[in-house]
Amino acid sequence: MYWVLIKCCFRQQFQYKWNLLFQMAGDWLGIYIKICIWQAILNAGSIKSINFETLVSYSVIAALVSGLLYSRVAEELADRFRTGMIAIDFIRPISLKWYYFFGQLGENLYHVLFEGIFIAAVSFIIWKLPIPGAGTVLVFLVSLFLGLLIMFFIQYTIGLLVFWMKDGTYTRMIADGLFLLFSGIDIPLWFYPEWLKTLCDFLPFSYVAFKPVSIWLGMQEAQQWQKILLIQLSWVLILFMAERLLWKQIQSSVEIQGG
């Protein structure tokens, strides 16, 4: 009887390990594909201003950022709305928002630290990628944190829209699509035509991925790191206020329905 239990739990753990392995392999493949693409592009010779190491570093660090950004907050909000649990959140003294943020961050950090850093370290060794100085790394980390906050606020605010949308799936898809296009997470924004790049500068998305990564890379952009951090802070504030506004709206309209 216990033997069956042991076998069952072992099998579960075993599968869990396999899943982890598969995940790592999958992430590896993703980076490998990107690197081959960069190689092929550089071989064609039309891009002279950027070198291979920069492109590879970009892809690796962007992949790390991507891992940290994973958030189910929009779905969680939709769930709580559907089940009615959201009513409790109105009277809770703790801020729901921060609860989610740090919870998700913790979970992501776990993944990134074990898997992401490992892959990044191996990549850095294999391709002999340059590592920036301590000062740059510090600024990068601050910028990264601000970027995560920005993205979280965006996702949370999108999640709040469930009060009007009733179904959160589409708003989530829209946010993800916009993020993919404008953040530079897949293709660095240097490849974008001027007009598109300017557009990206006005949107918060590029400040989540592209700007922090370019700080790490020490690119020209990054000479103005103070400006970048300032803009990130202002986006954080703007989004924070937007969210508060939305929350107030929700609270008042729900109260009217109550009773």
Partner: protein, 264 residues
């Protein structure tokens, strides 16, 4: 009196607005969904020019073949196989097994997804436009072959779904398998397989023949012959499709048998 009508009207209007709002959101979401991948490709290729000698429209052809065959396969198989673990757990699969119809056919017919229809139109249009821009005009014989290729490619995609989700019969959480052996490996197909290490090409040709989804068949239409051990490869897609689907079907039956023999 009017107040009452007014109230009704207001509610009706707001409901319509909400409904419209949802519809609008859905359209935007779908538009963004299929176009973001394609837009990124266009942006990149516009800036860097041909990759490994393949120009924008040739790579778009690869992309469209992949999306179209994936959408066709997804329409019939995603509903059933994507949710296989849940079907097993909820007992729904048992219900299906009691029906007098072949369970696979039942699964396909009852779980058809309509969500991919916009993809067909877009991908189909992309194929048409790309061929046009490349100055390729198809003879009747070639058109038939194109259709056969898409059919074959869809079968390969479906087989890929099936083989990587059927392990749900044995393992509880098998989605890692699906992600790695299907999703991750098919993401190699965005670009011509010649840009990767030879081992990858071998893997995607002889072990998990995803290469036949787009890389080999497309070359027939654009007069290329890269990375092929023999020109025959350009014509193999429909046959490979039928073959791997047959294997997937056998695997499915094996899974069903294992499932039924351990049942209560």
């Amino acid at each position: 009196m009017f107040g009452l009508y007014g109230a009704f009207a207001k509610v009706a209007f707001l409901t319509q607005l909400e409904y419209r709002g949802q519809y609008f959101m859905r359209m935007i979401a779908k538009l963004l969904g299929w176009s973001s991948g394609f837009i990124l490709l266009v942006i990149l290729l516009n800036k860097v020019g041909p990759v490994a000698g393949w120009g924008l429209y040739e790579i778009l052809l690869l992309y469209a073949f992949d999306v179209l065959s994936y959408s066709i396969a997804g329409t019939f198989f995603m509903g059933g196989f994507g949710k296989l673990p849940r079907l097993i757990r909820s007992g729904e699969l048992d219900g299906i097994l009691t029906k007098p119809v072949n369970p696979l056919i039942y699964l396909i017919c009852t779980k058809i997804s309509a969500g991919y229809t916009s993809n067909y139109v877009i991908a189909g249009a992309m194929i048409g436009i790309s061929l046009h821009k490349l100055g390729v005009s198809l003879s009747f014989y070639q058109l038939i072959w194109l259709i056969l290729d898409i059919a074959g490619a869809s079968l390969i995609q479906a087989a890929g779904f099936m083989v990587t989700t059927i392990p749900a019969f044995w393992f509880l959480k098998s989605d890692g398998l699906y992600r790695l052996f299907y999703r991750n490996l098919t993401s190699f197909l965005q670009y011509p397989l010649t840009i990767y290490h030879g081992g990858i090409r071998f893997l995607l040709t002889f072990l998990l023949p995803y290469g036949f989804i787009n890389f080999y068949p497309v070359q027939l239409f654009i007069n290329r012959q890269e990375g092929v051990p023999s020109p025959v490869f350009l014509f193999l897609t429909p046959f490979v499709g039928a073959f791997v689907f047959f294997i997937a079907y056998r695997f499915w039956n094996k899974g069903l048998n294992a499932y039924q023999s351990t049942g209560s």
